[in-house]
Subunit: 126 residues, 2 copies
DNA sequence: CTGAATCCGCAGCGATACTG
DNA sequence: CAGTATCGCTGCGGATTCAG
């Protein structure tokens, strides 16, 4: 990430392209709701309404928006069952599960450092 | 993360507290700029202006805001050298470097899946 | 049930100017 | 150089409504 100082050669042009694409993806993915959705999904297959219940505090709109984004990037698949009422299910793809690994790492890190962070906050706020 | 269904016992009250704190920390940390700053810092010690140059596209305001937040959570330390002009340096703490590991994981993941994502996007946009 | 679209308030963010 | 404060605006994001 954050490769810099490109030249003007064709190879560098390609590097620059990949780099800007990487930043774009990173911006898509490195946001609270997207990561929480991925974490909530896990290995399971969930419906829209189930996801809304799982991901605490997310609004209808944010959920659909992020689901579209994740689907577009191929991190999850959306399967529509042509019933009435409609039933739509979401499942992580292999890349999605890959990203989930790192999200998991963040969650572990969070819990592991709760104490340190809480203490640091108290001191800072004084 | 996302522990649920608490009872009303004292132990559960403590669990609930830790859980809400975890969510708060997660919300702080799971945002584009914070993660990019952490990634940019790495093992180095950088000045404010150096960080602004490293983290491409970040504004003065966002940088200070996120630096304060990261400092408050004990992820980095801010050392002021009482010279003129002032010189302020930022360095990741042990917990900060721990988080950086997972950020690194995300970056690796991004680069590793560039192809898949780009292809998925093209298909989706059609 | 899922999702698109609309409206709208407010916070996030950038730009700028000012202090130490 | 680093940081705070103020202003103004854009766009995020919530609430609501309508459609399939």
């Amino acid at each position: 990430m954050v490769t810099k100082q490109f030249g003007s050669s064709p190879e560098d042009a390609e590097l620059r392209r990949a780099d800007s694409l990487a930043r774009e993806i990173f911006s898509d993915v490195a946001n609270k709701w997207a990561l929480l959705i991925i974490e909530a999904l896990g290995e399971r297959t969930l419906r829209f309404s189930e996801l809304r219940d799982e991901v605490e505090g997310i609004s209808h709109k944010m959920l659909t928006q992020n689901l579209r984004m994740l689907e577009r990037n191929g991190l999850l698949v959306r399967t529509v069952h042509p019933t009435v009422p409609p039933r739509v299910e979401y499942t992580l793809t292999a890349p999605g599960r890959g990203l989930r690994e790192t999200v998991h790492g963040m969650c572990d890190w969070t819990h592991h450092n709760l104490g340190h962070i809480e203490a640091s906050r108290r001191q800072f706020d004084a």
